[in-house]
Symmetry: C2
Subunit: 233 residues, 2 copies
Amino acid sequence: MAVTQTVGGPAAAGKQMLSEQVHARLRAAILHGAHAPGDALKPQELAKEQGVSLAVVREALVRLVGEGLADRLPNRGFAVPAFSDRRWQELTEARLTVEEPMLRMSVQRGDVEWEARVRAAHHRLARTPAFAPEEGEYYSDAWAEAHRAFHRTLLEGCGNSVLLDTFDRMWTASELARRWSGHSTPHRSSADEHRRLEEAALTRDPAAAAAALVRHLSLTAAALSPESATGTS
Amino acid sequence: MAVTQTVGGPAAAGKQMLSEQVHARLRAAILHGAHAPGDALKPQELAKEQGVSLAVVREALVRLVGEGLADRLPNRGFAVPAFSDRRWQELTEARLTVEEPMLRMSVQRGDVEWEARVRAAHHRLARTPAFAPEEGEYYSDAWAEAHRAFHRTLLEGCGNSVLLDTFDRMWTASELARRWSGHSTPHRSSADEHRRLEEAALTRDPAAAAAALVRHLSLTAAALSPESATGTS
DNA sequence: GTAGCACGAATAATCGATTATTTTGCCGAG
DNA sequence: CTCGGCAAAATAATCGATTATTCGTGCTAC
């Protein structure tokens, strides 16, 4: 029986490798919190669920491990990584360390095209409601994506793809860690902070932009662990 | 017949997954320059060479892609990534951007145990000859490893595993890019620079340490592209 | 009553073979 | 002589099944 049933959604999903699709779906599911930290990601279940063979699920899982979205326990399969507060703090500090100089470079180097994209990204973010009625608990996918796009666009002016890859990696890890660190909602003044960031960037004021970013990230971190500043041990 | 008696060395080499071993071997081979950039990494060849099935080679390759040590061309297999001068410059800039603040943190936070490890790492590096007679063209594996260990140890005082992972990733990419960017040998004064780095770190002088690191990395970059400072478009 | 072991079920890791896609070589039309 | 298409070979992607390891259970010895 040569029944090559292409999965195909209504939107003509086109031709992609199966492992790519499975990887994307699994990644989205993990980021959406469909699997709790520590939960085992069983290849058999996933394979049956998605109607593919073990090999493609395995490949997707290996990729996820590389992205930090899954842990591998030798001879014991895969699992959703557990996130401690400690890890969340490290993530925030790392983002500050990397993004602050990136933003400075960006502001110094970005051209008019970059300015235009920053404006566009901020507009999209400002006009996207953070919460969708049906999704309730967590902020909407649309807002999360607009948020990511704004922050990334701000940094893209630096023109360094290695640093931008680093940003992508840390952003993803942050999104997952944030979801499971008790702190999920965008805090009250984030819209203000984003406006300040945009303004400083378009004014070509590196110091002001850096300061705004540091404040933005610090507030995000502080909202989670109010008394974190005291050194541990 | 229970034939699987893996004797294992006296040091109890233990049981590792096949894919792990294959991944390690392939990774080492690529970093050693056994495959030229652009060369296809054919699963069949590799599988026959190493006497394993396609699945394990495939898994190893997927992992390598995640580490940036291989490219994936959809439906066209895997290949060794090509490195342009541009990429090498980006890598160097990224390392500067990330490692300089890391080193400052490290110097500020590192404890006595860290100081001891820095001393030990520098001693090993200083006592390891950069060139081994039999390896000729390129610097010795032992030196490369001592070099990496010294730089990493310097930064480990920062205590941030996310940043250290970023360092690892960039270091690996740098090693591969350097090999194929025409610039291979450690330059004349690297021993001096390492000594200065160690001294500044143990003196707990963040500014001096950062300055020494910046000089070290800048020289490395400059040695490759002498006239690179002029911004490209 | 509990510790330890044997056995069986579950699941991970690997394999050999099948299917789909791309590349290569050849032939004829223009 | 070159361009375009067709067939054959090569190779990538996927699958179904096999082997190895771990996990759970119940029995036995003490």
